[in-house]
């Protein structure tokens, strides 16, 4: 069943659209990775779904409801976004930070209930951040920050989780840890996931489906094995690569070849 439907979306900054006449269907429980070179429209797509950018044409339907018609609060109770980075200059504790994720569910004059706190604790347990609860967020490492941000998104109790390059700035151990977490959430809780990923190999390894963007248009979409090919990578990125098979996951694995080398 189609859960998120993007219809003929045109979206961008100023007069030049980044995404032009773009359509996409996402089923409930799907895990879609969006890949493509810089400036291909990945982040614009995220911002359009999160409504931090209004489209100039087209619409986005969530369960057949136009998200432009949903109040911000209602939208945030369904869609959670982990954006690329955010300034943490104020020393909230980790627990306070994750509790902010309850905002879309809280009435203005009510204080948090027992249930709100238990949702927060569960989100922290899932992201292995419980032991950080009383620490100030300003003192966290990059990996810890990212896990706290995911915890806050989970505290929103979304049915769609959007991640915009969640593994940027993380070392390889933390990259795998974070993506393992998203896979568990997808498999065990049926959370629908749309992740913009820079790393083709990680995208192919974790997502059910890949969407490859080039210049604001869909270049390829489908199972990782069908989309990540030597031809598609050359066409989209202009890079010379060899595609192998991942030994455990059986997903395509891209080996970069030197641009100067003999082909």
């Amino acid at each position: 069943m189609t859960y998120l439907r993007i219809e003929h979306l045109t979206c961008g900054y100023g007069t030049r659209p980044v995404l032009a006449d773009f359509s996409l269907d996402l089923d409930q429980g799907d895990y879609l990775a969006v890949v493509g070179p810089n400036g291909s429209g990945k982040s614009t797509l995220v911002r359009a779904i999160a409504r931090t950018l209004a489209p100039t044409a087209g619409r986005i339907l969530l369960n057949d409801t136009d998200i432009a018609r949903m109040p911000a609060r209602e939208r945030a109770a369904v869609i959670a976004v982990v954006a690329q980075d955010e300034p943490w200059d104020f020393d909230f504790t980790v627990a306070e930070m994750v509790l902010l994720g309850r905002l879309p569910h809280l009435q203005r004059f009510r204080s948090e209930t027992v249930r709100d706190h238990s949702v927060v604790r569960q989100a922290m347990a899932q992201t292995h951040t419980l032991h950080l609860a009383e620490r100030p967020v300003t003192g966290l490492s990059g990996g810890e920050r990212q896990r706290v941000r995911v915890a806050r998104a989970l505290a929103q109790e979304p049915s769609l989780l959007i991640l915009d390059e969640p593994t940027a700035h993380l070392d390889i151990a933390h990259q795998v840890e974070l993506l393992d977490l998203t896979r568990r959430l997808n498999r065990e809780q049926g959370l629908t996931i749309l992740a913009v990923l820079h790393d083709l190999n990680l995208a192919a390894q974790y997502a059910h489906r890949l969407l490859m963007l080039k210049d604001g248009r869909r270049f390829a979409e489908g199972r990782p094995g069908d989309t990540v090919t030597e031809e598609s990578v050359r066409a989209v990125y202009g890079s010379r690569v060899q595609v192998m098979l991942h030994p455990e996951e059986q997903s395509p694995h891209v080996i970069l070849l030197s641009g100067d080398g003999q082909g």
Partner: protein
């Protein structure tokens, strides 16, 4: 836990404010002991019948002169501190104070115009000075807001820049008024600009009280959203905050609070800058706690400063704005050093 500690701080801050109010009302050329002051106060409660055991002039001094002044000072301190705290959150800029959007400049022009051309004797009642100052402050902030917004979106950095520019323009206008006005009015304007509470009376308190209560309540309601805004506008939007509406709301309420305070007391500096900083160090950045504690501490600080202003320099009364600047400047620098050292891990 921080939340528990916060409640304790809130109660302590309220008690300190209460004690400061009582002590301040007793201090002055005529010293009124706290016990006597309390009894005079109680006798004014509806339904209370206390035998008069105090000299009648004491009652007049306390009830007609000192008390309205102390209470007005507290209200002004509250308004400025809460507006400053909310602005620092909104602008994510620790240098933001209630005057950053040109309210004080606009109010200064309004007040100076009123003193120079309309009124020079009626400063004590709710004459043209507070009204024009209030209008001038709101006019300036409206211009700043219009300059910084395109369509329904307002850019925070543009607000700051426009605020600085409009503020300087207003200051030159005030200078112009000072140059062309007569010496007597000029003196009154200069004194008024420094910020003071000497014209306080119950009428002004009556105007300020409901106004401040409404503004405070409105800002406190948005504490959670303001917290989210500290993580950036985009994150706040992801968390379900209608960011543009929130910004408008904070700007309008903050401007009204500031303009109201300036209308009655002139532009008293530093309270709205220092108090939120101090309180953040004490209770953390959560606006739901930081704003109410700032209100209480701001009231205490301003009442204490005003008491010093009217009693520490002998028979001469110094404008409280001057006392705040003299004491607040060095204090702010000390806080800054403290933070720098903490950040450097020394």
């Amino acid at each position: 836990m921080r939340a528990h500690r916060g409640r304790v701080v809130l109660v302590i801050a309220a008690l300190v404010l209460l004690a400061t109010l009582l002590l301040a009302a007793g201090i002055g050329a005529v010293r009124i002991p706290v016990g006597e002051g309390l009894r005079i106060l109680l006798s004014h409660l509806p339904g209370a019948h206390l035998a008069r055991t105090w000299p009648e002039p004491h009652e007049t001094i306390l009830w007609q002169i000192r008390l309205p002044r102390v209470v007005l000072g507290a209200l002004v301190g509250m308004a400025l501190s809460v507006a400053g705290g909310a602005y620092q959150g909104l602008f994510k800029n620790p240098l933001a104070d209630p005057y950053v959007l040109g309210v004080s400049g606009g109010a200064a022009v309004g007040g100076a115009l009123a003193i120079a051309f309309l009124d020079r004797m009626h400063l004590k009642t709710l004459g043209p000075v507070p009204l024009l100052a209030f209008a001038g402050g709101l006019l300036a902030v409206t211009v700043v807001y219009r300059l910084a917004s395109v369509g329904r979106r307002v850019t925070v950095v543009a607000l700051l820049l426009a605020g600085v520019a409009v503020g300087s323009l207003m200051i030159s206008l005030v200078s112009l008024i000072l140059v062309i006005t007569r010496p007597l009015e000029r003196d009154i304007i200069i004194f008024w600009l420094m910020g003071g509470l000497s014209g306080a009376n119950w009428t002004k308190v009556g105007w300020m009280l409901p106004y401040l209560a409404a503004g405070l309540a409105a800002l406190l309601c948005y504490g959670r959203e303001l917290n989210a805004l500290l993580m950036g506008e985009e994150t706040a939007a992801h968390l379900g905050v209608d960011v543009e509406r929130l910004k408008r709301m904070i700007l309008i309420v903050g401007s009204l609070l500031t303009a109201g305070a300036v209308a009655f007391s002139g532009a008293i500096g530093f309270v709205g800058l220092i108090v939120p900083h101090m309180v953040r160090l004490l209770v953390g950045p959560d606006h739901r706690l930081m704003l109410p504690v700032s209100a209480l501490v701001g009231a205490t600080v301003l009442v204490a400063a005003d008491t010093a202003a009217r009693s520490a320099f002998g028979a001469t009364e110094v404008p409280v704005g001057l006392v705040m600047a003299l004491a607040g400047g060095p204090f702010f620098l000390w806080l800054l050093r403290l933070k720098l050292k903490a950040a450097a891990g020394a």
